[in-house]
Amino acid sequence: MSPVAVRGRRRRVRRPAGGGVQAALSEAMVDRLMWRTGFGPGESDRRRLRGLSLHAAVDRLMRAPQGPPQGPAAVRRDGGPVRPHESDVDLVLDWCDRMIRTRNPLVERLTLFWHRHFATSRDEVSPPQLMAQQNELFRRYADLAAFPTSNMRTLAYEVGEGPAVLRFLTGEDSTARRLNENYARELMELFCLGVTDAAGRPNYSEADVREAARAATGWRIDDANPDAPRAWFDPTRFDAAAKTVLGRTGAFGHRELVDVVLAHPSHAPFLVTKLWGEFIPDPPDPATLRDLARRYVREGLRLRPLVRRILTHPAMLASIREPNMIKPPVVYAIGMMRALGLGITDETLFYGLRDMGQPPYFPPTVAGWEGGAAWLNTNAAVARFALANRLLSASYAPLPGGEPEDVPAETPAQAVQRAHRAVGRPWLASGTRSSLTYYAAHAPTRSAYERTSRQRVLRALMLGGPDAQVM
């Protein structure tokens, strides 16, 4: 046998290049994160998050307290405060104002998500206090720092027993004698399960809907004091007999019904897919979906860990050089106002959101807004540019940074750079930057008026052009 050396071998680790979970966030990555979880980056976000890992950055966002809103509150055209209970325009603007001035945009983004998910329209819900009350409920569940055990089960209880949904889906009229199936159907179809499972099999039958409706009877609304609306349970209107829903039988009331529906195997993949789609445009691959769904169930349908897993998934940073998700109108508009440092001073934002197709509190159907490519139909695209132009005009409000100054010696590249800084340094594709520089080089600049006009046009193109529509 040959002699065998026995000297130990020294282990030395290799430091890999940045990538995957170890990647230090670049500015483009911070911008991506802040658009997808909020309303775009500010310079302070870029400073504090750059260089962190995605996990660390997400943890910071999720731990941040809401805090009081910052900056001056919204005012009406007459200079008075908005009155959300007196005017639908003000109702919308009041929420927009919170989005503009929030210190933790993730809370407002998740509030918006729940509003889209449990879509309820002011068109069919009066008084408006019911909508505002539901909005506060969503915000409470969206504030994952203050409510770390926020979970789908109690959220579904509270939404279903909330005056807004009871009125919108006419649940308040559903009694043992006169059954109304609206809520039961939407609970399964839109809120918790979807029509079919991944294999295309129906998740529920018409009989399930009827039986579920019986379990949801008995709820009424007391809105004698519109500022303190409340739902209450009237046992005389409740169908107390046994029901069979999704294969389970019992004398179910509303909460037991929700439990049965949430225990359906289609619930977790349904909700995970929907929440994922709020942040990431491409659907999760089957293995990721299975894993997220399994953990979501194992963790008692808690939302905080699920949101964290989605936000820290590498897919969040996919296609970083070419943003690939269309900004919903609310995100686009609020982001623009935050970037420009503007607050609400009249109804411009309301009409802008209406024209772009997403006035909050007014979803087009009970299924909410379609989203995705539908955000950019011809009319909506024009409305987006018009809003950018309007916000940049002096007639809306004085820009905090002041009107564009005349800089006679400025080169075209410098003009582009100055405009870019003035609008918050949004993402620009290299081709767009070239086009803007070309425009800057060929625009008339003989007078101060022409030079400041060039600056205005550059800013409008950066805020309203195609690159500004994606995140």
């Binding site: 026995v6 071998r9 680790v13 430091r15 055990t149 894993d291 008692g300 349908l301």
Partner: protein, 313 residues
């Protein structure tokens, strides 16, 4: 003690009643199995006693060593493992004795080029108690070794074939008690098709223990300070999905560059809550060019002691 014992039945009751969120509110470590903690040092014969004094005996339940193909474990290390009743983890490196894309290629390993030396190694360690862990060809999803799947002439399929051969040699040399640990790097470098963790999986029947290695280099270049949950979360998910077996962090460590190593170690202790299959952690206790990973500082050692008290057996 009574309240602590009462928690588990309460949690079980809560879970049974469907109050899962409440059940989940119990301390996450309450039900998780305790882990074995170990260490790699360049010179464990001299270093382990000092480390034992600094962090306590629980910190050196496992002694990790690296052996080039054809060689045996240093007798001093072997004696140390016996003397301290520590488990020996042997990382087997079928190359020419230095890291880098040199030495035999995987297809040669699969043909048995290193079989005789490996058999000798197995015979050397097979009688150890506790049962030794053999970690052949670690981190194949990186470009740093002769057995790297991305090295010219190698492939993930060749790695799997080599592994199968290695296992046959180990078992054939009487290494039935030798636990085979399959441990890729926590993230694939490069992240490219054909170089994913799953590509190197040799099959559940070919391994006894799964794991991953990964390090927090701190804020350096385009690397970010990376907490242990972020570092291992994805690898754990992938690896345990491939084979539901005990999971080891085959090697880890942190530098102090751009963060707080004590806080990092505290988070390491939290992994048991999210990684129920976690059974072992080996600390890379070395100062080298890539960083100072030693548990030498007082605050770091204190945090590690606390981690061991809470998590290790």
């Amino acid at each position: 003690m009574a309240p602590a014992r009462a928690r588990a039945p309460l949690a079980a009751l809560a879970a049974a009643l469907g109050l899962a969120a409440w059940a989940g509110a119990t301390p996450p470590e309450a039900g998780a199995a305790r882990i074995e903690a170990g260490v790699y040092q360049d010179d464990p014969v001299r270093g382990v006693p000092a480390l034992r004094r600094a962090v306590g005996p629980k910190g050196v339940r496992v002694i990790s060593t690296y052996v080039t193909a054809g060689r045996l474990v240093d007798p001093g290390v072997l004696a140390l493992a016996r003397r301290s009743r520590a488990r020996l983890m042997v990382s087997w490196m079928p190359d020419a004795g230095r890291d880098g894309a040199r030495g035999p290629r995987l297809r040669q390993v699969a043909r048995g080029a290193q079989a005789r030396g490996l058999a000798r190694l197995v015979r050397q360690v097979r009688g150890l108690r506790p049962a030794p862990i053999l970690r052949p060809m670690p981190e194949p999803n990186t470009p740093w070794y002769g057995w790297s799947g991305t090295r010219a002439g190698n492939s993930a399929a060749a790695y799997r074939a080599a592994w199968t051969r290695v296992r046959r040699v180990v078992r054939g040399a009487g290494g039935r008690r030798v636990l085979l640990l399959w441990a890729p790097y926590a993230r694939s470098v490069p992240e490219a098709p054909g170089n994913a963790i799953a590509d190197y999986f040799p099959g559940a029947g070919q391994i006894d223990v799964v794991g991953a290695s990964g390090y927090n280099f701190g804020r350096a270049g385009d690397l970010a300070w990376t907490d242990p949950d972020a570092l291992f979360e994805d690898a754990y998910r992938q690896v345990t999905a491939l084979a539901p077996k005990p999971f080891w962090i085959a090697e880890t460590g942190t530098t102090a560059r751009g963060g707080d190593p004590a806080a990092w170690i505290r988070r390491l202790g939290g992994l048991r809550a999210t990684m129920p299959a976690l059974r072992g952690v080996v600390w890379y206790d070395v100062r080298e060019r890539a960083g100072d990973f030693r548990l030498a500082r007082r605050a770091t050692a204190r945090a590690y002691r606390a981690f061991l008290a809470r998590s290790a057996r």
